[in-house]
């Protein structure tokens, strides 16, 4: 067992876990953050994507020991928390408006890949968006409305960076 400390969605976390425990399991089982999904367990589908120090990683391939001292953002950290409840960020709202989520299993990972793309200044260009989400498989949408959502969020461009 290793003592591991990190920030998740802005909150400090400290836990004892086997060093090779998958970050995916740490998030889902130890921390109850089940918004991060498992689709294949071998880094192919992107459903378990999270943001680690500003970059998208597949949490099924990241051992817990590697996140010590680092900053993680999951889908639960996208919406702004206010005393009255959560307010969706522009990207989530755009997915809602365009129909970018169908079954919802790829959605958390898709949102996080798109978030990193937008935070890096990505714009509404279709090919660039396709590249940005190339690691996230979706079987429902044909990607059309996901791309439309990300382009819409890029156009509105009112996102508070790193909120």
């Amino acid at each position: 067992m290793t003592a591991i400390r990190f920030l998740v969605n802005g909150a400090p976390v400290e836990l004892e876990a086997p060093g090779m425990r998958r970050l995916l399991d740490v998030l889902r089982e130890d921390l109850g953050l089940t918004g991060t999904k498992e689709g294949c367990g071998e880094g192919e589908c992107g459903a378990c994507s999270v943001i680690l120090d500003g970059e998208v990683v597949v949490s099924c391939l990241v051992p817990a020991c590697q996140v010590d001292g680092r900053i993680i953002r999951t889908v639960e950290g996208l919406a702004a928390r206010t005393p009255d409840g959560r307010i969706l960020d522009d990207l989530q709202a755009a997915f809602l408006a365009t129909g970018g989520a169908q079954c919802g299993m790829c959605t958390p990972g898709m949102l996080l890949s798109a978030r990193v793309y937008l935070d890096a200044g990505g714009g509404p260009d279709e090919d660039a968006i396709r590249e940005a989400i190339a690691g996230n498989l979706c079987r429902c949408t044909g990607y059309t409305k996901i791309i439309e959502a990300i382009a819409l969020a890029a156009e509105t461009g009112r996102r508070p960076a790193g909120a």
């Binding site: 089940t34 192919e44 307010i87 709202a93 989520a101 959605t107 079987r139 044909g142």
Partner: protein
Amino acid sequence: MTSRTPDRPGALSTVATPPRPAVRPAEAVIIAPGIAVRGHLITRGPIRREGPAKLTGDAQYADDLVFPGAWYGATIRSNLARARFLALELDPGFDWSNVVVITAADIPGEPLMGAVKGLTPDQPVLVPLGGEIQHHSEPLALIAAPDRRTLRAARRGVTVRTEPLPPVFDPLDSDKVFVSHDVVAGDLAAGFAAADMVLEGEYRMGHQEQLYIENQAMIAVPTEDGGVTVHGSLQCPYYVHPALMRALAIDARQARVVQAETGGGFGGKEEYPSLLAVHASLLALKCRKPVRMIYERHEDIAATTKRHPAVVRHRTGVLRDGTLVAQEIEVILDGGAYCTLSPVVLGRSTTHAGGPYRCPNVRITSRAVRTNTPPNGAFRGFGAPQVIFPVETHLNRIAEALGISPLEIRRRNVYRLGDVTPTGQVLSSSVAGLEVLERAAEAVDFDAARAVTQQARLTGQGWDSVATSPLRSPDRPSASGIGIALAWHGCGFTGSGELRYNSIVTIELDATGQVRVLAANTEMGQGTRTILPMIAAQALGIPSDEVEYAPQDTALVPNSGPTVASRTATIVGGLLVNAARQLRAEVEARSGGRSFAKAYREDAARHGPSRASAQYQPFPGQPFDERAFTGDPYPAWGWAACVARVDVDLDTGEVAVRDVVAVDDAGVVVHPILAEGQVEGGTLQAIGYATIEEMKVQDGRYLNDRLATYLIPTAVDAPRITAIMVESPFDGVPHGAKGLGEMPMDVGAPAVIAAIHDATGIWIDRLPATPERVLAGLTASAGANESGRPGSGGHDRPGGRP
């Protein structure tokens, strides 16, 4: 884009030019409990009901559910395709005290499963000792342990002893026919005698994996009355419910099925969850703990159902002008090791085999046979894609041989109002084949676009003379092509399927004044939870957000039938309108002339709860004879067309699908965004089927049973897909909606294959069009061609006259 057949006004409102969706800045607006958006959400139609939960990570899929003290279950499977199961040995050196093991001998009820009512059960819950293993990865035993580590160790302590038996893998060699049909219309011999040309062809398709992103998942919780409640990822709660009763020998109250949020199904969660639920329940009842059975991707691909592989043969007689005069079609589906849904799938293959074309003299023979591979089952399209690709490709070859354009030959033969199908159905309403065809052609200016690609091919200029190709580079010659396909798709079950289910839908106004729809139809991404309340609200004259959709829990909702066969919007939606109208009439009758909208809350307070139900009634028309395969197999048909543009790399054979226009007739579009989402997603699955999705089978085992090796299109592979909705309302249901979800799956593959031909001159007769197959075609074409240059006009010769 939405158009409406001019003389048939629809029942629901439609959207003309969609506003660009956006969020208008303003105060935060609550859209779900505890979730808001900043400002007003501008979109087309109500937002997806569970959308906010899916976007925040709140949505609870089966593996997200926590049951304290739950054990973990696993399946011991065969590693041979056919064998005798001799022994299950447990390592005496392992401590088994904290592990439960289940074999076939522990099954309290019926040892064999049947997919649905009316089909003979033949699939063992577990293969009994001494019994025959019929496929690789077949379940032999189950184990459960309190934690994963113990489970893994216990698995290693199990040894299976088997004696190999000779397997059958080629469906053409099978000696076991699950079901067969022979449909005859007109006089085939006379038809061929009158033909100016006869063309023969054989087409083959392999397995396709549904590849829902959420794997199969089920959690069984034992209850105090000796029964079990299962929570799972599933399409059909009322398939699982009787399966539990049969296998566990429990009564209807002891079995309870609750659908968790479901991460895609596409047919893959139609019948398989019944087996998984029985497995989890057997373990749960033995260890008296909740048992989690969450498949990993590898196990899911290795063991669960796929689209049926098929061999389809066509012999077609035509007149010089392209008029079809004789169609002789043979369809063979590979059912895999057990019957499961094969008879139902074959029914659809048989009724759709001739395509959406008028032909007076037809014979369709079809059979589904057993092989020693995992059972094949439901997958979006359900037997139709396997016959539409052949009939469409065959028609294109006929058109080429006659020198008619693929668009024109379809115009000449497509069903019109009043035409009669091979089963004798008179197409008396909602016939939109020509409309979807013309809309698709017009959207891309098909004739002009094809003239350019044809010219390029005939002059051997490849990409040089056509619009920019992503494959284009000086050292990689490529060619571009365009192709069109057309299909029909029967709405709802084939034949008397609906009669067997007698679906019931209920709508209630509870004592608190809440209106609620009670139906068993599941949300799996396609939008059931959003559209059924919309349909009810429309009938009641109230806003859709005032109608709740009850959870899909067999303790709460009646059996409104399975969520399959594109039947939810049309069949279940129709029942719902009838139930809602009854409720409305009842409330308005005692409300002194006030509308339901104004009166219903007060009515609930004054009179208490009210309920209204509607049960399936047969549609007018000829009843369907299941034996003779005559009559009206479906109350209505949907129509779909697709145009695909591809680039083919002439050095590597790689096919890039660049853009696709899909035109689908949904009768009436209930929700434009959700409808387009169905078309776009179904189209990409069809493109995967056409180009890259291939299950490699060796000795009855799927070799590429991982996501690293079974490839589906990524965002970079996917073309731009434009969905165009056509509305030709179905007058047999009050709201006019037909099925939608499956049609895009039917037309995508033949459109892509036609485009590959347009680019290269080669005919691909086996899906998918892998680089290897395309390259083999190019090489053969170059060999047959004097110029020796691939892509410069060589093509298969049409078959000779009889």
